[in-house]
Amino acid sequence: MWFRIDFHSSKPIYEQIKEGIKLLVLSGKLREGEFLPSIRSLAEDLGVNLNTVARAYRELVMEGVLEVRRGEGYVVANTKREVLQSFLEDALRNVLKDCKTAGISEERVIEIVREVYGGEGGC
């Protein structure tokens, strides 16, 4: 399993790992009940420290995204989509706040939303 980690980002690495895993679950690449790689295996693949992966897994367990199966490892839990995608929604909210501050109208924003989602009105 691999996704890109930006070591120089202000976003902590464990946070990036959490988001990476959430995206995999959201997109269906990781299914409920599927086992995640061991901490060491993921650390090796991503090129990060054990502590970082351990922390990411720990917090995902606390958030209810993962479950620990004693003696076997970490497994994807049955999580509500809202939990998984909340980080993306927060990011969207921040961008929209910046747009609002910059004076971009609500109509324009909705135009763009339709463009991306392939609805009417965009060209």
Partner: protein, 262 residues
């Protein structure tokens, strides 16, 4: 694995280390950062028993290996003789590991150490140190003078050590590298420990704030109209522009240490 409490060391009237405490656990990479003369090397040397601290407690549970800042090997010995020397006096020295590492870096064992460039000397010394099987690796500026590929190799090697349950204590000037490999950091300035903790937490604890008036934070930059501060997340006032701070900005602002307290 290692506990340091209240370490103090002075040379005559000059205080080199002024009450530094930190801990290193297993499978951890711990980096000590700071400007020159901050006391990083003295701290390492006290931990290793090369220098006697004036006060403080140092508890090291386990074996250690050391790569000193100068990375000087015996110039009149050949590389292969140096490998032999390490085999005789090294701690759990794994000869094959050292030899394959030297091969990987293209270091000819027949060469005399005095004939090696600085970078090759560093890689040689590193190969030998990492071939010792110990609990804690103490490295003073391990990537100094190395080309980017070698540096990347070294960082991966350090990380792999922690996969085996070993720990690394090292000093560095290169912040971008520390970001890639350190679990926890200690920033020292003028002998004191100014910031300590998990690197991820340190990065998350500070933001840049653009203000027109003085604030409780570390002043990073002053333009004609604005003051840019590095502020702790729990101290950010209302109605100011907030931006993410890079690790370099955090380091620079804190080490420069210009505090304007509102």
């Amino acid at each position: 694995m290692l506990t340091v409490r209240g370490l103090k060391k002075s040379y005559g009237s000059k205080v080199a280390v002024d009450g530094v405490s930190f801990e290193i656990g297993k499978s951890e990479v711990f980096a000590i950062l700071g400007p020159n003369g901050a006391g990083k090397t003295t701290t390492l040397k006290c931990v290793l028993g090369l220098r006697r601290p004036d006060s403080g407690e140092i508890k090291l549970a386990g074996s250690f290996s050391y790569l000193p800042e100068e990375k000087n090997l015996y110039p009149y010995l050949r590389v292969k003789d140096t490998v032999d020397l390490f085999e005789r006096i090294g701690k759990n020295f794994k000869r094959e590991k050292a030899i394959s590492s030297l091969e990987k870096y293209g270091i000819d064992p027949k060469l005399k150490v005095s004939e090696l460039s600085h970078g090759m000397k560093t890689l040689t010394y590193l190969s030998l140190v990492l071939a010792e099987d110990v609990d804690l690796y103490v490295l003073d500026e391990p990537t100094w003078g190395l080309d980017p590929l070698a540096r990347s190799d070294v960082l991966n090697a350090l990380r792999s050590l922690t996969y085996e349950g070993k720990s690394v204590l090292y000093t560095s000037h290169i912040l971008s590298e520390v970001e890639k490999v350190a679990d926890r950091i200690l920033i020292m300035k003028a002998g004191k420990a100014i910031i300590q903790g998990y690197l991820d937490d340190v990065k998350a604890s500070y933001k840049l704030v653009v203000s027109e008036r003085e604030l409780d934070g570390y002043l990073l930059k002053r333009t004609k109209k604005e003051l840019i501060y590095l502020v702790r997340v729990d101290r950010i006032p209302e109605g100011v522009e907030v931006r993410d701070a890079s690790f370099e900005e955090i380091f620079e602002a804190i080490v420069r240490g210009e505090r304007d307290v509102a």
